[in-house]
């Protein structure tokens, strides 16, 4: 094996980026770097191109949207599409603010409830030993192995029986019991040291108190992650078959109606597509470091 010379850069202020990796990572050939970073670059362009198009289309004036040959980049950027969108929004049949309020209720309701209910259940599952603990957790893991499409018909019937059809609760309540939230929360709580809770219990704190004053502040990255994931899910929800009344429909529904308006509304549609994509991406950006911290504990033990 060729002997590696590790240059110590620790006394320098600025280290060239091609040297930085070598401080910690051994055995990196230049050819390998070239191959992998090249591949990354090409795939990065493929991944980013549709996103770039979404941004550019939103800024294109109408004549550029229907230009031949089509150009990806905008030449004369304008906010016309967004003003068009506002005009469309202001003369919709149901006041547009109504859609926004609906979305806020559904999203906040789904988020807070899920974080609370899932954390409350995750704490005993992570830290207490009681009969049924493993079976219950394994069922939750199993629930992540199939998608909700499998259960949608019976779910619809159950929601009708519970009489919460055509009600915000039809979207909010099922969202509280998503498996992934509980799973991530439990895995994250497991790494907390037991000593943390024991000292509080010696001071006479009950379980709920320990949960609220000791556990929850220490798992902030996890519940932020849950909130963001839940937001992404709720944001994309159009209300589907559950909300029939126009007054109850969320923003996403109204926005998709505009997109489906076709060529006449191409400009406003481009603006809508931008809004639909930009909102969840922005939230991810804000919470990225917390989400990554949560995901370090996401692994499945056998």
């Amino acid at each position: 094996m060729r002997k590696k010379v590790i240059v110590d850069y620790s006394d320098r202020k600025w280290v060239p980026f091609w040297r930085r990796a070598k401080q910690t990572k051994l055995n990196r050939s230049k050819a390998g770097n070239g191959l992998l970073f090249g591949l990354m670059f090409i795939c990065g362009i493929f991944m980013a191109l549709p996103l770039v198009m979404i941004v550019n289309n939103a800024l294109k004036p109408l004549d550029e949207l229907f230009q031949y040959p089509p150009k990806i980049l905008v030449r004369n950027p304008t906010m016309e599409n967004f003003t068009d969108l506002f005009v469309l929004m202001s003369d919709s049949w149901v006041p547009f603010s109504r859609y926004i309020i609906n979305t806020i209720i559904i999203t906040i309701g789904g988020m807070i409830g899920h974080v609370l209910v899932a954390s409350l259940a995750a704490y005993p599952l992570a830290k207490h030993r009681f009969p049924g603990r493993n079976i219950l957790f394994n069922m939750v893991v199993l629930s992540m192995m199939f998608s909700w499409t499998v259960t949608q018909i019976p779910q619809y019937l159950i929601i009708s029986w519970l009489n919460i059809n055509n009600n915000y609760l039809a979207l909010i309540l099922p969202a509280w019991s998503f498996g992934m939230g509980l799973y991530l929360m439990k895995q994250f709580m497991e790494q907390l040291p037991d000593s943390l809770m024991e000292s509080a219990k010696i001071d006479g704190a009950g379980e709920f108190r320990v949960f609220w004053t000791i556990i929850m502040p220490n798992v902030k990255p996890a519940w932020l992650t849950l909130a963001i994931f839940q937001f992404q899910y709720m944001w994309g929800n159009t209300g589907g078959t559950f909300l029939r009344d126009e007054e109850l429909k969320p923003l996403q529904f109204a926005l998709q109606q505009i997109v489906q308006g076709g060529a006449v509304r191409a400009g406003a549609g481009a603006a809508v597509t931008f809004v639909i994509a930009a909102v969840p991406i922005t939230f991810f950006l804000i919470a990225q470091s917390n989400i990554m911290e949560t995901m370090t504990t996401s692994g499945m033990k056998e």
Partner: protein, 315 residues
């Protein structure tokens, strides 16, 4: 003195015996049950019960309005022997799963692995670029613009310009293109939660492991990946597999939005679009439940199988 000692040990015995009984255990942990109750009551109503109902309904004739009528295996027999469209959609779904599942899984791992070589802002930026499509909701409709069937479509425009083709291709209306195009779009969308788990998992691998491996004679990054990195992040690998597999079997929305439902000659039909067809359009709930049950078994079965395979990584 002697009697007193015996009494103490008898007491200790009874306590030990009592602690062993289930009732005692449940009583002692009653607070735990109170804490998990809200979640698991909802979980029962919206996950467990629906799965059980789906299995029961799959043996009945049920149109929501009338009481379900037990028909035995009839739905399954019809589904597997007479329903040609189901066979097409099952074939498409399996193709989707077999192609997008492993490829997206490998891509998640590969990109996470390369991203792990970067630090700070660049790392955060690259993570965002690759992860963003999976969270941008319905924004994949932008592919409709790329795939527009006339010369105004971006792809057609590009191919025409460089004279790869002479006339515009109707991408989403031509049978042979539908599935491959949907697979590409699905791959674009598929670097989701599993991808994040991989990036995070790679960060947690202890640096001393790499140094020790280098001393033990690991020569290049590929060996390092196989002998050090992958075994060290096995838990993340298993989590990522669950995410990617479940996703790859559930493809439906992109097919409906890009190719339509029903698509040309059912070239874009998947088990889920077939399920939606019977469930929400025809209201044949018994039959739709049979489709759902088969999909459920497919998803869970594949997941279990892959979990078993992944345990052998690095051995």
């Amino acid at each position: 003195m002697a009697t007193r000692r015996r009494k103490v040990s008898e007491d200790a015995m009874t306590i030990a015996e009592r602690q062993g009984t289930l009732r005692y255990q449940i009583h002692k942990n009653r607070i735990s049950y109170v804490m998990i109750a809200p979640y698991f009551i909802l979980f029962f109503f919206f996950t467990i019960l629906p799965v059980l109902m789906s299995i029961v309904f799959s043996f009945t004739d049920f149109n929501v309005l009338e009481m379900p009528e037990f028909v035995g295996w009839k739905n399954y027999i019809k589904l597997l022997l007479e329903d040609d469209i189901f066979m097409v959609s099952l074939k498409n779904t399996l193709l989707f799963a077999v192609i997008t599942g492993p490829i997206s899984y490998m891509l998640c791992l590969l990109f996470a692995w390369i991203i792990n070589e970067f630090k700070g802002k660049l790392r955060a930026f690259l993570t965002l670029i690759f992860y963003a499509p999976s969270i941008s909701g319905n924004a994949y409709v932008v592919w409709n613009l790329i795939l527009t069937g006339d010369r105004y479509g971006y792809l057609n425009g590009l191919l025409l310009k460089y004279e790869f083709i002479n006339e515009a291709i109707l991408w989403m209306k031509t049978e042979k293109y539908i599935l491959p195009v949907l697979i590409v779009v699905q791959l674009w969308l598929s670097l989701g939660t599993g991808f994040l788990a991989f990036i995070a998992g790679l960060q947690t691998v202890d640096n001393s492991l790499y140094e020790a491996a280098a001393i033990d004679g690991v020569k290049n990054r590929w060996q390092e990946l196989w002998f050090v990195t992958l075994p060290a992040m096995k838990p993340q690998l298993m989590f990522g597999a669950v995410m990617q597999i479940t996703q790859s079997f559930a493809v439906a929305d992109i097919s409906i939005n890009l190719a339509g439902n029903p698509s040309i000659n059912y070239a874009g039909a998947t088990v889920v679009t077939h399920l939606l067809d019977y469930g929400s359009t025809r209201f044949e709930m018994g039959y739709a439940s049979a489709i759902a049950t088969i999909l459920f078994l497919l998803m869970v079965g594949t997941n279990k199988l892959v979990q078993r395979m992944l345990r052998r990584v690095g051995e």
